[in-house]
Subunit: 301 residues, 2 copies
């Protein structure tokens, strides 16, 4: 699992402060999460391939999370894309993007599918044999979802020495990886645990931005490998956070601590703060394993 | 007159190739012309003040000319703008921007006026006592206007030595600057030409992008001080230029030569070209005074 922070600042973009976008590589997928203005340039800077992005998840329709989407969709067209693109986001996103393309008489020459979200309950929006993506309903000024990316259980790992020692025929390997017991050539059953190792536990990535402090999400993101939680403000601006339905670094850490996640990544900083280390300092008092999201930074888990 | 090229590349943005936007300072105005994605960051890089921009002119509704507009309008709001903003552009621009703001529940707290254009004849879209702005109907794949910025005649310049020598009373200065004759204290008339110098000739800036080679614009941009004319292609891609309704460097130079402009600035280069000097070389064969538009470059006239 590899997470590239393309942008993690709130509101107005600056040359070294990009609005929200992330690229998540998980089990062969390259998911784009949010798409603020300038995201396509950030994708280029990260040396990621445009053609690998097949699913885009948009949390909410504030400009700093989706004003780069129409440009990216247009660039895909100009670069000759043929493969389908799926966009998941709040109701209204289809009308907006369609209108922008219509005005420029610039229809895509690849299939563009919108999956509009309206539910305030968590729902599965994408699933295949490797993973699933669920919404995390958040508490912001407009309808907003975070997204939970959950790997499916991997097959058990064959113990090569054990299968050889027991004389297990190769024709059984597939079933054994699926958890079935084995049988020797003499017909003796061998329990699966003697023939396999546990697979790596499935990984979970929880993306929560933008949101006020909202403990209802804790059960949903329970024990996530990584939680990205917005921290627009420090506690010194706690009232402003409440008013604008954003979170502080301390509140983000509290959610991480309650959900017992592996790592917390902070982001969506207000540009009023000069020293981002203050976010780490504040969050670390509540939750130990905190990382600072920064534009261009890559996290591998 | 000061022209800052904020972006002058066509189609897909790259980190060092910004889509079209320009800032024109003329007689106290700061006009923004086109607003591709990332323009607000380019404005910051140019150290221009957001608050000075009161009029934005959009040539056409292809993404590389207006996908930065919604973000800029939103940033104006976040930065506490109160003064009115006027946006001039093709019909449809109001619906698009309004929808994007509505989806984010992000109405501006300053007056935002749209002036939608539909005429295929040149028309005055803005005028005050110092200058006027006229459309230049162009020939592109969608409805497109260039813009002609024309200074009004300045008052005549008083010759301080002459008015003193003739003993002209100060009360007459205003009228003399307007072209009236003077009168000595003894009642003798003195012709205006003996009391004044010619003012600087009014300046004209013609912005023409995007367009195919379109000689119909020549009378309109006649003797412009500066002409910015798109040159997406070199002559080696002449057929592609015709097909996509863009111009070559040679064609841009031919328009400059026919209109007898002072200086031609090239831009809107396709990113296929590595060496922009080739554009100068090609255009210079037809028109002598050619400059290369480059992102961040400032021209003073």
């Amino acid at each position: 699992m590899r997470l590239t922070i393309l942008g993690c600042f709130s509101a107005t973009p600056h040359s070294n402060k990009n609005p929200t976008a992330q690229l998540l590589e998980m089990r062969g997928h390259h998911f784009l999460i949010d798409c603020g203005e300038g995201t396509q340039v950030q994708i280029r800077k990260a040396k990621a391939k445009f053609s690998e992005i097949k699913h885009i998840f948009i949390s909410h329709l504030h400009g700093d999370h989706f004003f780069g989407l129409a440009g990216l969709i247009s660039s895909f067209r100009l670069l000759g894309r043929e493969s389908p693109l799926h966009v998941y986001g709040p109701k209204g996103i289809k009308e907006a993007i369609t209108l922008l393309l219509k005005l420029g008489n610039s229809w895509t020459n690849y299939p563009l599918h919108f999956h509009e979200l309206t539910s305030t309950e968590s729902e599965v929006v994408f699933e295949d044999d490797k993973l699933s993506v669920k919404t995390i309903p958040l508490d912001h000024r407009v309808y907003t979802n975070g997204f939970l990316f959950v790997e499916k259980e991997k097959p058990r790992k064959l113990n090569p020495k054990a299968v050889e020692a027991f004389g297990i025929d190769k024709s059984q390997y597939h079933n054994i990886k699926q958890g079935k017991d084995g049988t020797t050539t003499l017909g003796k059953p061998i329990p699966n645990t003697q023939l396999t190792f546990d697979p790596e536990p499935p990984k979970k990535y929880a993306y929560c931005s933008d949101t006020a402090y909202f403990p209802s999400i804790v059960p949903l993101i329970d024990r996530a490998t990584v939680l990205y939680h917005e921290s627009t403000f420090l506690e010194s601006h706690n009232e402003l956070a409440t008013k604008t339905k954003h979170a502080t670094a301390k509140q983000a850490a509290s959610i991480a601590q309650q959900a017992q996640v592996g790592t917390l990544i902070l982001g969506h900083y207000s540009s009023r703060y000069k020293n981002l280390e203050d976010f780490i300092t504040e969050a670390s008092k509540v939750f130990e394993n905190v990382q600072l999201g920064e534009d261009g930074k890559v996290f591998s888990f």
